[in-house]
Symmetry: D2
Subunit: 387 residues, 4 copies
């Protein structure tokens, strides 16, 4: 897709210094910038609007590549792509911002804990003014906003009607606080965003009734995004296991070969980890294909709940399988290294920390129960952003 | 593909009585017959020759369906499809036998243990006679021959030149002995085949030098076949877990709901098993797509060893991941049933027995070591029928 | 403990032919007989009554040995030992039957499914006659009764009062049907026992109010018995893995050594299985020591529910850990063998079948939930024969 | 053992602030001091010399307690206890230092990488002076020395004869550098120790030929120490899982109960983790009992290599089983928490980091291979400090 520079080179640039950045207070602003010129951010923009109109499968393929290179940046772009997904269903898609190279962040979740996808509980208020609106409220887990040019903010009007807006982040009254305190995905920019009477134009605000038709399976899209970032980490762990074993120069105590890189027991472990990486990528890409099917139906005007449910189910099943593969691999990685592999300087624990953090977004075991209830008792699968 | 009858109905017919057949001395001759009219056996025959020219991905998809319905029949057809793969590269493809509905069995492996793909060590002898050949020798693990119309037999001429033939099984001197003694895949017809001066025509015999060009990745095809049959068993185990839990009428001791089918802990297990089934199918189908790539290159005249090695690697990695998923699921299935699920009459142990038997064809751990050696030390992957 | 013959020799005799017996309709009557003279059956009889007064830890140690040699016999003796445990609390312990070499079977569970330990729901009736009682009813899962001399039968009087009796199996009206149809523990004699007006003397019958004081943790004892038999199977699987690898004479395809027995990857697997066997035995023996503590307190007159609950919890935790180790090992065993290890003749699948059957007696996952509820919410642990 | 204060109270004090200390640059000097008065450090000192003469089982039991409270302190005391083990075999045991409350650190391993237990390769030199010795050299991985009063240093004389000494850390020329850079066990004080012409008296130096008789199984002791610290972390992870679930106040999305603490799926997970903690402790304590057996034989003058090998084997098997349980549990812990459990402030990832670091000291898979080689081919087990 990438006009100016081979995608492979872009990835190498993203990857360089990724381990060091992760363990430093540094934030990867440059890395996000480097993606702007590549076409990646506009992959889902229709051709008519200057994008690549790529399939979701293609997007998730590129996403796994990005996540392998820099897991934080990959997660930070989740809201950006989710916003574009919605835009594709809007009557007059305002894709200009995207093709101009803008990155979109989010300001959706609130500290008070409205339920998933429930506008009603939001306390952020959109107030009418003479010629527009002002927005006041506080959002947390606003992943990616730290690196974004514009922010997608959700709230309610004073009458309690759902409302959302896309506004530039340099608008007055916006404060982005980098206070995400996770032991993983440290640089994902998942902090707090405050709006204190931030002005917005009538063009920017969409009030319920005027919004695009419901986008089925957007929850599945959002969930699969996280699982794909997990796969990127798994691939990075597999690569690191190979680099680690290849680089060992001292014989291993009780080993059977002069160099560890020829020890059958360690090679078996490397092969096993590689097989996990292959499996995980394939599972996510298949689920992405199912989302493409749903997308095609929606564009064809079929609001097919069954296909969306099927896709949602498979996305949840992908999460279950992929996380197990990834956590196991990120743990097993150390079995091909010696004690020096545990040096903080090597930062090889970051894969487990990242995966463990991503996997904790929504309970995997509870999802398994929901699937069981669906297949056994025919219960509907949830249609919200947490499933 | 299925002209006469919906594929779904064919599968239901195959599945009916599958569990009972497995635990009886009965052999599923009828079941194989039922597949003859469906087009399945000719899926890979080019359109010009009356087949469907289906992709390998499509074949493996249908194969998993068949294996889910009857694991033994699915394995029994391995040589049939491998033979057709070779035929597609022969100058004058003799597809008539296939489109006529014939089933092909194999007579390749010998008790004396020639190495994988090594004609030199074969003791079955092809002897020239006045107007043809006679064949004498003994083969074991001749899977599928019990259900076949013709048999594909490998040997050497008296001069030690590799030779093979496809001959009808009602030819004089052939004895098929149903002496396979596995605890799984009991009805796969993997017994012994004796040839005692069996006549063959010059048309039927192919001697080295006159055979089709080497078919790269045929080993990968054969190996993926077994892994796909494993997936079929895993899907059957998942279905049986659901049927089992749905059917329980007595409350479970120390459970939290009146009926076991509503118990969250058991539903979580069902969802987990379902996710394994999904993952396993997807992995095999992706590997099949890679074989399609190799196939396309070969037909385009590119003898690309790299693509074949890549496919071979992924097929081996698929075996590693899929077997673990399948063995775990076939064991976990009982966790949603009570003591009565262990009745021999229910025959729910057959999935583990089948999978365990299929998985033992070639050492999975050794394959992992080979992959490790490939990615770490750049060793070539083996190109034989065991990898 | 064993006066006449070294215990090791007894075990060798039990083990000889165990694999063959398991796959034949044969029942191990001789094997049970062979244990009569060894003192094993009277291990828990007090010294004053001619027994060894062995600790429960000692009993479970010997039990694992027996189970390793013959898993069916080990399970069949469960009711025998449970009966003796009760006897130790009876005012006038009638140990004569035990020291005479009698084996005790059970007739407790009923087809109609009274809840665990719930006499009230039993339909077997004890009816007073002129000088004694008659017993009428049907019992299933009456494990061990096939090999027993006497049977321990539970029921209610016509007034609904709980009653039990120990009576000789050659008493009129008793029919023992060998109709247990499990795919594992085939020869455990867990069939049906019918009582049709079977006479019993007043001495033989114990009616509620006259029975020994409540034996806390008898459920834990019964449950640990099954887990110990699982350990025996695991040890047998570990031994079989070693024998299998040691005996392989043909080089393994893609292996790194001439003989499989020197292949590091296969040796690693053998070591791993051995470590599972060690862990499992140790876990069960520790839980047995906790039962010894409970036993000591009970004999000292302390009806300490806390110690009994602690023991019950650990027994349940032992089940959770041990079953996972055992099922994994019984599956992994085949990874050190080739295809020939799956021959029904070798009967190496019996370990998985036995373990799977034993493990299905009571839901392991549900027990984990109960423990979780206990440690999180302080719920009492169940005190019944199923926990 | 604990004269002044109940052991339980000591543990509570150690535990307080343990999570915070771990994530800070702070080092737990106070915590080590708090153990001085408890008798713990002199548990293995013979009664005649003022100690408790406790069994190794008792020591490992207390060690697991300490590790649960503070994993770093537990590891830091490894050399101290190893030194005392050796002292017990010295003709005139100099236990005064121990009973006085001194903590012993180690200075054994060298950057140049002499093989395990191989004095010959050491570059630290003991040089004779007029009335004593001077010691010059650099040691790394000198765990515990940061908290110690005296250090146990190994080297060779100028003639290449092995030599060792126990000297006070305030001796001239000693520099202890806190440069251990692990992502786990951060505060274990496993840094570098430099000796620059450090003086030692003739009393303090033991030269080969004058040392106590060989202490078999000291390697097993050292290895089991690490495994016991792993168990402490596992127990802490299990406790944290319980605290986490108990404390959740918001309902879980897609859950079946109002509060997460009543959700059967989450309770099952807590029960499962608890069962792992129980299993792991029991395995280590059993292996400790085997070391007690070896110890008793050695004191009785039996230099029984077989018993020592058996103990060494079980210690290695314990490592294999325990690490798997512990890594799984430290990963699964997060499945009972929500996204907030991944806050760095909660520091719940420290258990995985600690266990992963401890487990990487010596390759677990290679140990499994060694055991496999021992049981299959009768190879001797290594007798060094790495096995």
């Amino acid at each position: 897709m990438m006009q100016m520079k081979p995608w492979k080179d872009v990835l190498s640039e993203l990857e360089a210094g990724s381990a060091e950045r992760e363990s430093a207070p540094e934030r990867p602003h440059d890395v996000v910038d480097r993606l702007r010129g590549t076409g990646f951010l506009a992959l889902r923009v229709p051709r008519a609007h200057g994008g690549a109109d790529a399939s979701l499968r293609r997007v998730f393929e590129a996403l796994i590549d990005v996540a392998r290179a820099d897991s934080n940046v990959a997660q930070a772009l989740r809201a950006h792509f989710a916003y574009v997904e919605g835009l594709r269903f809007a009557p007059s898609g305002a894709f200009q911002a995207i093709t101009d190279g803008s990155v979109i962040g989010n300001a959706i979740t609130e500290p008070t804990g409205a339920a998933a996808g429930d506008f009603a509980g939001l306390s952020t208020v959109f107030t009418r003014t003479g010629d527009g609106w002002t927005i006041t409220g506080t959002k947390f887990y606003s992943t990616g906003t730290l690196y974004a040019d514009r922010v997608w903010v959700w709230g309610v009007t004073e009458q309690g009607v759902p409302a959302s807006a896309l506004i530039p982040l340099d608008r007055p009254g916006i404060t982005v606080v980098d206070d995400w305190d996770g032991f993983g995905q440290r640089a994902s920019g998942s902090g707090t965003t405050h709006f204190a009477g931030t002005p917005a134009t009538t063009d920017e605000v969409v009030v319920a009734g005027s919004e695009p038709p419901p986008r089925l399976a957007i929850g599945a899209f959002l969930q699969l995004w996280l699982t794909a970032v997990v796969v990127g980490n798994l691939e990075a762990a597999s690569n690191d296991a190979q680099t680690l074993l290849r680089g060992r120069r001292r014989g291993i105590t009780h080993g059977t070969t002069e160099l560890p890189r020829h020890d059958p027991v360690l090679l078996q472990q490397v092969g096993d980890i590689a097989s996990k990486a292959y499996a995980a990528r394939v599972i996510v890409l298949d689920a992405a294909s199912l989302l493409d099917d749903v997308d095609a139906r929606l564009h064809a005007g079929e609001l097919d709940g069954t296909a969306a449910q099927e896709a949602g189910r498979r996305v949840a099943e992908a999460k279950i399988s992929v996380e197990r593969l990834a956590l196991d691999a990120a743990t097993a990685l150390f079995e091909v290294g010696g004690a020096s592999a545990t040096r903080a300087g090597a930062n090889l624990d970051r894969h487990w920390r990242n995966i463990r953090t991503l996997a904790s977004h929504n309970s995997t075991r509870i999802k398994a129960r929901v699937i069981g209830d669906h297949v056994i008792n025919g219960s509907d699968l949830p249609d919200n952003t947490y499933f």
